[in-house]
Every structure is written in C-alpha cells, then in structure tokens.
C-alpha cells in the first residue's frame, strides 16, 4: 500500500507543476497555450523533447520485450533510435523550427497546406495523423493501469489505475497547455533517467550479483538464446531501423520542435539524445533479460511457468493459449523485480519513476488538441467567427473528450504495449515521414503526391490491423503463410505480428509511401505551387 501512496503523492506533485506552470504564462493566446509562446529554454527543451519520445513503452515495453526476446531489444529500438532520431532533428527539426518562427505555423498540417497550396487534402492528412496518434495515447493509459495495479499489488485494478493516470494528465494539460506539459515532461525525464542506475544496483544486490544469473542463463538451452540475437533474422533486425523515422513525423514531436526559443538549443538536444537513450534503455533491457533468473519473485516465476507451458504443451486450446500468453506477458516485469528486491520505500520511489515514463502521453494529447483547433476549428473559420479565446477553450474541451475516448479504448485492448505501438502508430508515422522530406527538400512534390502517400499509409495500417485481428497468433514460433506466390512467402503472420518478405510492415509502407510521393508528383506537375509559394520555401 505504501508504494501506491508514494505514487499518489507523485501524481500530486506532477499536477502542481503543471498547474503552477500555467501561472507563469504572460499571454493568453493560442500560441502561448499550444506552443509555450515559442520560448522554452535549452534544458527544458532537451528534457521535454526526450520525454515526449519516451512513453510507457520505453521502460515497461522495453523490459517486457527483453524479458521475452532477450538483448536484441536494445539493438532493435534503442541504438537505432539513438542514431535516426537525432539525425532527423538536425535535418528536419531545425527547418520546422525556422518555418514556424518565420511563418507562424503551429502544426505540421498548417505547413503542408501552405507549402502545397491545399485545403481539404490537409484535412485528410490531419485525419490520418489524428487516427494514428490515438493508439499512442492508449498505450499510456494501459501503462498507467498496469503500473498502478503492480505497485499496489493488485489493490488498484487496471481500470482504476488507467482512470487515475488519465485524469491527472488531462488536468495539467487542460490548465498548463504546452508550458505545463513541457515542465512536467522535464521533471519526469529527470526522474526516469535516475531510475535505471538505482534499479540496477538494487536488483543486483537482491539477486546476489548478475554474474551468476548470466552464467545460469547461458547454461540453460531455453534461456541462452536470450543473450544473443539468434532468434531474430538480420532482415527483421534491419526493418526495425525504419521505426525511428516515425519520431519526427509524430505531430507532438514536430510541434515540440517549434517551442525552442533559439535554434541553438537543438545542438545539445541532438548530441545528448543518444546518451539519454543509453541511460534509460540499457538498464531497462538488461533488467528485463535478468528477470528470467528471478525465480524467487513469485509473480515472475508464474510468468516463466506460463511461458514454459506455452512452449511445451501442444494440446492447448486457443483460449488456454491466450490465457497463458496474458500470464507470461512481461510488461510489468521491471516493477515485479523492483518489488521483489528493493526495500519498500525504494520500490515506491521506483514505481513513481516508472509512472513518470508512463505518463508521457501528455504531449500527444496536447498535440491532438492543437491539431484539432488549428487544422479544423481555425481553418474552417472558427477563430474568425468566435475569436481566439474560444479557440483555446475548444482545445481544452477536446483534451477532455480525447482522454475519455482513449481510456475507453484502453479498457478493450488486450494486446501488449510493445506490439500495439510498433504495429500501428510507429509504422504509420514512419510511412508519413516522406511527406516532411518532400515538403522541405523537393520542389517537384505536389499535393496529389502528398495525398497518395497519406492514403497509402492509412490503407497500410488498416491492412495490418485486419490481418492481425483476423488471423490468430500461430501456436509455434514458425510464422503462418497468409499470402504466397510460386512458393515464395510474401505475407506471413508471426507471433510478433504481420511480416512482409520477413520484414516488418513498416518497411514496405515507408518505401511505397516515398515511391508514391515521387510518381504521383511527377504525374501532376500542374499541381505544383505558384512562384510566390516556391520562392517562400526555396529561396535562390
């Protein structure tokens, strides 16, 4: 119960910071509420931008994935993100910042509409972006429910934990806007950067050092593969490098790029980003792997037994398999480890740190609200008719409605946090990244090319969702063929999701999106913007 009380106190602190930040505002206009007046300092910019990229998935999802799949988790997501995300910030983020400052853009769709001289196509892009962002918000609600249930030892049910986290996030986004969100994110990032080192020390002491745990894992045929990457193919590994392309295409990250007071603040963010990744992901992944030897923790022992039953019992029914999969899921494994080995007060603090990562949905909720009020409400005449104060009020109402919808969806979603994020939101946004590249760097791109890429992305995400919901998870590690031609497997269904030629769907989705942008733009040269627009974006 004590950990749950400490986490409750933490939630109170977060609320205070978010609401206190709103008092520091000097203006009451839309730019202040949605972009913190484009005035964030270097430290808050770095910490909040990094925090906005870290969700429940970074601590809970990463350790859960490592628990089941081993050290490969770090290479799949952490080291590839440490390279790709800072490069996109350098090449794309800085340019978005400059365009925002010069032309007053608040959302990516505003930029697309102006750059390609389009109105309703911008609305289509908004709709796809908004739809793809909802799963990301749902992940945070799920993480909140999982964390509170774990730290309270089941006293707080999943539905209540999710509701509490949703309410807290909604409150400080509602009152604090971007400034409140950025301050809370900065505070939370510091907290979960501390988490890793403390958790590793505590669990190491509890397990009697990791050396014997690693040797024991190597000695067992069932756990030794978790310490190498032999269970995944190089193609599958390669395809994961496409996922971090989604970061800059996520509206909340693009919008965060507009909040820096000076361009120079990007420098430190870019260089320090990999170090932040290392500080949070290495402990999360390592602890997730080491948890396979934490058999003295009853909750983890139950997971391992469920996994062993899944691997050895071929007579299980579909329902039994689903039940065992749920029991073996590792999303709460890091919390169980900490509970098993840390003193109560420290477990409570670490639970609060995990909660910090879980609650990073604030910037996504604010981004969706910003997009709705700017790209729909203001664009279709709302601001002109009702004024800017009503626009901000509309944004706040949207925050409330969105939070409730995300919460209701979270109650119905059984899939693990990691898979949900990868298969839907990340893959979709990675496939939308060619839009940003084309708008910024290619004079020949047109609105029809942008529309083709966007529609393709929507169709791709829908296809993945349909395949994964209609074709059950295969009972063994061998993927089931969904579509083949001349003996060649094109589409397969593996335990981790749908694969195309052995690659994650994100690869064909992103590549085809880029190809469509090029082909359709070349077929529609008359749709290129006029001289005035081209001169605005391509001086010289």
């Amino acid at each position: 119960m004590i950990p749950a009380l400490v986490v409750a106190a933490y939630l109170g602190v977060v609320l205070y910071i978010g609401i206190f930040a709103s008092r520091a505002r000097h203006r009451a206009d839309a730019e202040e509420y949605f972009l913190a007046g484009r005035s964030l300092g270097p430290a808050v910019f770095l910490l909040s931008l990094f925090g906005a990229n870290m969700t429940a998935f970074s601590i809970l999802g990463a350790s859960g994935h490592a628990f089941a799949n081993g050290i490969v988790t770090f290479g799949l997501m952490a080291s590839s993100s440490a390279l790709v995300i800072p490069v996109t910030l350098l090449v794309i983020g800085t340019r978005l910042w400059a365009l925002g400052r010069t032309h007053g853009f608040i959302t990516p769709v505003q930029f697309f509409r102006d750059r390609w001289e389009c109105g309703h196509i911008g609305t289509v892009i908004f709709a796809v972006q908004a739809t793809l962002l909802v799963p990301y918000i749902v992940i945070a609600v799920m993480g909140g429910g999982t964390t509170l249930r774990a730290v309270s030892d089941g006293l707080i049910p999943f539905w209540l934990g999710g509701a509490v986290v949703s309410m807290v996030v909604m409150a400080y986004v509602f009152f604090g806007g971007m400034r409140g969100t950025a301050w809370v994110n900065a505070f939370q990032t510091v907290l979960f950067l501390l988490f890793g080192a403390i958790a590793v020390s505590v669990v190491s002491a509890g397990m009697g050092g990791f050396r014997s745990a690693m040797e024991a894992m190597l000695a067992s045929p069932s756990t030794a593969p978790l310490l190498s990457r032999e269970r995944v193919s190089p193609l599958y590994f390669l395809s994961y490098t496409f996922i971090p392309l989604s970061s800059i295409a996520f509206p909340h990250i693009a919008i965060f790029c507009l909040t820096a007071r000076r361009l120079d603040y990007f420098r430190k963010t870019i260089v320090l980003y990999p170090l932040c990744m290392l500080a949070i992901w290495l402990p999360s992944v390592f602890l997730g792997v080491a948890a396979n030897q934490a058999t003295s923790v009853p909750a983890i022992a139950t997971k391992l037994e469920a996994r062993a039953a899944l691997a050895t019992d071929a007579t299980l029914t579909v329902d039994e398999r689903n039940r065992l999969r749920a029991e073996a899921a590792g999303d709460d494994v890091i919390l169980r480890l900490v509970q098993g080995y840390a003193p109560l007060w420290l477990a409570a603090f670490l639970g609060a740190a995990v909660m910090a990562a879980v609650m990073a949905s604030d910037s996504q909720i604010l981004a969706l609200s910003t997009m709705f009020t700017e790209d729909v409400f203001a664009f279709y005449g709302g601001r002109r008719r009702f004024g800017e104060a009503m626009q901000v009020r509309t944004g706040r109402i949207f925050v409330v409605v969105l939070t409730i919808v995300a919460y209701l969806i979270a109650l119905e979603m059984p899939q693990s946090i990691f898979d949900l994020a990868t298969q839907y939101a990340f893959a979709g946004y990675a496939a939308l990244s060619p839009l940003l590249v084309a708008a910024l760097f290619w004079k020949g791109s047109t609105r029809w090319g942008a529309l083709a890429s966007t529609v393709w992305t929507a169709a791709g995400v829908l296809t993945v969702a349909v395949v994964q919901s209609t074709i059950p998870v295969p009972p063994t590690a061998v993927p089931v063929t969904v579509l083949s031609l001349g003996g060649l497997d094109i589409v397969t269904r593996a335990a981790t999701g749908m694969l195309v030629f052995g690659l994650l769907p994100v690869v064909p989705m992103t590549l085809m999106s880029a190809v469509l942008m090029v082909i359709v733009s070349k077929l529609t040269p008359r749709a290129r913007p006029g001289h005035a627009t081209m001169a605005k974006y391509f001086a010289g």
Partner: protein, 71 residues
C-alpha cells in the same frame, strides 16, 4: 564536401548498427555480466553521440537563424 562527409558518417553508422558479427555470440560477458551483443550496441550508442557532434559541426544550418521572426 561537408555534405558528402556527413552522408558517409551516417552510412557508416548504419552499417555498424547491422552487426552480423556478434549475431549468435553471447560470450564474452563484458565486465562479467554484459553479453557482447548488448555491450556492442551500448558502445555503438556512445560512439553515435560523438559522431553527432561531428554531424552538427558539418551540417549546422546557421542560415536558418537569419530568417525574420513573425511579429
């Protein structure tokens, strides 16, 4: 020239990330606890930070700071 160097750095890092050389190896355990594949990617992340210092120096878009802010 600067742009070519930057592309070469990113391409090299990308290739280094796809390390097939430690694919099936768990040993040696670095510091007695870190499987070599995990240690390699942790070291890769550190090197990436250093490479990004170089990329920022090569590609920094200082011209973007010269635009007139919207009033």
């Amino acid at each position: 020239m600067k742009r070519t160097a930057a592309v070469a750095i990113v391409a090299t890092l990308f290739v280094l990330h796809q390390d097939v050389w430690f694919w099936r190896a768990a040993r040696p355990l670095v510091f007695g606890v870190l499987p070599i594949g995990l240690f390699y990617h942790a070291a890769f992340t550190l090197v990436t930070s250093l490479a990004l210092c170089l990329l920022v120096w090569l590609l920094w878009p200082s011209h973007l700071d010269e635009g007139t802010p919207r009033s």
